[in-house]
């Protein structure tokens, strides 16, 4: 920080990530509105609080151990090397001085980490909230808050950050060996969260009345479509911050002699903000256009398809041509929409908001398709790493959705169910989760009306 150019670079990067955090906050506002809009009147407050309280729980646990996992686990451990420690994790352990306000002077890590560590942590944390919030919507109206919050900590502060260490860290073993490429988190956030939700849903079971006695699914439609609409628009808005947070804003990408500063993706490979902005909008459009067609104009699915379109193209949106992004998004929407209804009918899965489809199936598709479209591209500036290839991406998608998503979700849900911490009592589900709170409100209202009547006749 002792010359203007260095200081400018560091402070610009600090401000850049700070801004992404603020924008990404809107994702969570959107998820809350969306879930409340999708739930029935008798469950609104519980649904809202279930999602809201994952914010503090994932935040503190991501501070306590999540951030450390990202820097300790890139080798597996045991696949390309040991569990990392020492200088590799010095800034990320919860007792590190640079986890708090720090001027950078005395610290061996220097002014850069001291300034950027906090905002970089926060940007990753907002991804953590997103992963947990994706799961939240699918399980509404019958899960115990206790169980959900334990599951939320699991996906938000453990499982997704392990997959980030493996497939998103610039030295992650999946990038090195498989040539895994997932620039805007089709698999790293969306496929894993969708797989985790599916694992839970298998154990949790459907809401009462979701399936007829012959197994035919019934639609439990959103009770407030306008709130759902605003929620999804806010998620779109927050997604801009998500995309930008996946980049490094300014990095010397010139190999060998010379200097060339550019924005990079998370793997420190070159990209441009301009390019990803066009691709974001084109994949959103491809998703919306196809969603309208396959759902025959259903608003809920059309909006969700816009999101699914972005997710389907996200793995390669740093490199695709905009029209490629649009087409991939559209095909991804067909895939996730058809698969949603197939799984619902076949396995009697009640995914209340279609989160497994929009995030899980579209994310899985996005990772796989990038392997074919970007076949032979370098996965990293490191020339020793494997290049992008279909097999690596297929294996990567299976690891994200199945190994780190579905499996931990299913196992954790089984354990919670064994301790009766997963599903609410049947009577509570029938009466609604807000029954006691509503009775209290009604009692207060009646007491106030009674007091007002008495005031007319001279009482107090």
């Amino acid at each position: 920080m002792d010359n203007e150019l260095t200081a400018l670079g560091i402070i610009f990067t600090e401000f850049y990530y700070w801004l992404t955090v603020v924008i990404m906050f809107l994702i969570h506002v959107g998820f809350c509105m969306y879930e409340v809009g999708a739930s029935r009147h008798k469950n609104h407050m519980h649904t809202l609080m279930k999602n809201t309280m994952l914010i503090p729980l994932v935040t503190i646990t991501f501070f306590f151990f999540g951030w450390w996992i990202y820097f300790a686990f890139p080798n597996g451990p045991g696949i390309t090397g040991p569990l990392l420690g020492g200088d590799d994790t010095a800034h990320a352990v919860p007792w590190s001085e640079v986890m708090g306000p720090h001027m950078g002077g005395q610290d061996e890590l220097g002014a850069g980490w001291a300034r950027i560590n906090g905002v970089f942590w926060a940007a990753f944390l907002l991804f953590s909230w997103t992963a947990a919030s994706i799961v939240s919507g699918s399980v509404i109206e019958r899960i115990k808050s206790t169980g959900f919050w334990i599951l939320a900590v699991g996906i938000g502060s453990v499982w997704w950050i392990i997959d980030a260490a493996w497939g998103w860290h610039s030295a992650g073993w999946m990038v090195q060996i498989l040539g895994y490429h997932d620039a805007y988190a089709s698999g790293v956030i969306h496929a894993i969260a969708g797989g985790y939700a599916l694992g839970i849903l298998f154990v949790l079971g459907p809401r009462i009345g979701k399936f007829a006695t012959d197994g035919t699914p019934r639609n439990i439609n959103p009770r407030n479509p306008w709130l759902v609409t605003i929620g999804l628009f806010l998620i779109y808005t927050g997604f801009w911050g998500f995309y930008v947070a996946c980049n490094v804003p300014m990095w010397d990408i010139q190999a060998g002699d010379g200097v060339f500063f550019s924005a990079t993706n998370i793997y420190l490979a070159p990209t441009t903000l301009s390019g990803i902005t066009v691709n974001f909008l084109m994949s959103l459009s491809g998703g919306l256009l196809m969603g309208y067609i396959v759902s025959r104009g259903d608003a809920f699915w059309t909006y969700s398809s816009g999101l699914a379109g972005i997710i389907a193209a996200s793995a390669g949106n740093d490199l695709y041509h905009p029209i490629q992004a649009m087409v991939i998004a559209a095909v991804g929407v067909v895939f996730m929409y058809r698969l949603h209804y197939f799984v619902e009918r076949t396995f009697k899965i009640d995914d209340a908001v279609g989160a497994v489809a929009v995030h899980g199936y579209a994310g899985f598709f996005g990772v796989v398709i990038a392997g074919f479209v970007l076949w032979g591209y370098p996965s990293s500036p490191d020339t020793e790493f494997a290049s992008i290839n279909p097999l690596g991406q297929i294996l990567g998608a299976i690891i994200m959705f199945g190994v780190l998503g579905f499996l931990p979700g299913w196992v954790t849900a089984k354990i919670l169910a064994a301790f009766d911490l997963l599903r609410i009592p049947r009577q509570v589900e029938l009466m609604g989760l807000d029954t006691a709170a509503r009775a209290e409100i009604t009692g207060d209202e009646r007491a106030i009306i009674q007091a007002e009547r008495e005031a007319i006749t001279g009482g107090r």
Binding site: M1, D2, R40, H41, K42, L57, I60, T61, F63, F64, P94, W95, S96, E97, V98, M99, G100, P101, H102, M103, G104, G105, Q106, D107, A111, A114, K144, S145, T146, W149, I150, L421, I424, P425, Q427, V428, L430, M431, G432, T435, A436, A439
Partner: protein
């Protein structure tokens, strides 16, 4: 006297490291945080289970459930 590891902003700023108070207590603070986090889950779990038990006891008889569900029926005036 200062709870921080500096008493003024004079001198070379780059010599200052952490600017929060009680530098050196980080491991203790981490353990404290873990304990509070676990305690929160324990309290919340007990409270939620108790709430459901009370709700089932107060409102869970079949007659009351039928009444509550009929209130949801859009055909119900």
């Amino acid at each position: 006297m200062s709870t921080g590891n500096f008493e003024n902003w004079a001198g070379n700023i780059s010599d200052i490291g952490p600017i929060y108070p009680f530098v050196g207590s980080e491991v203790f603070l981490w353990i404290l945080g873990l304990v509070l986090w676990i305690a929160w889950h324990v309290i919340e779990t007990k409270r939620e289970n108790r709430t459901y038990e009370e709700e089932v006891r107060k409102y869970g008889d079949p007659e009351n459930l039928r009444r509550l569900i009929s209130e949801e029926d859009p055909k119900n005036p």
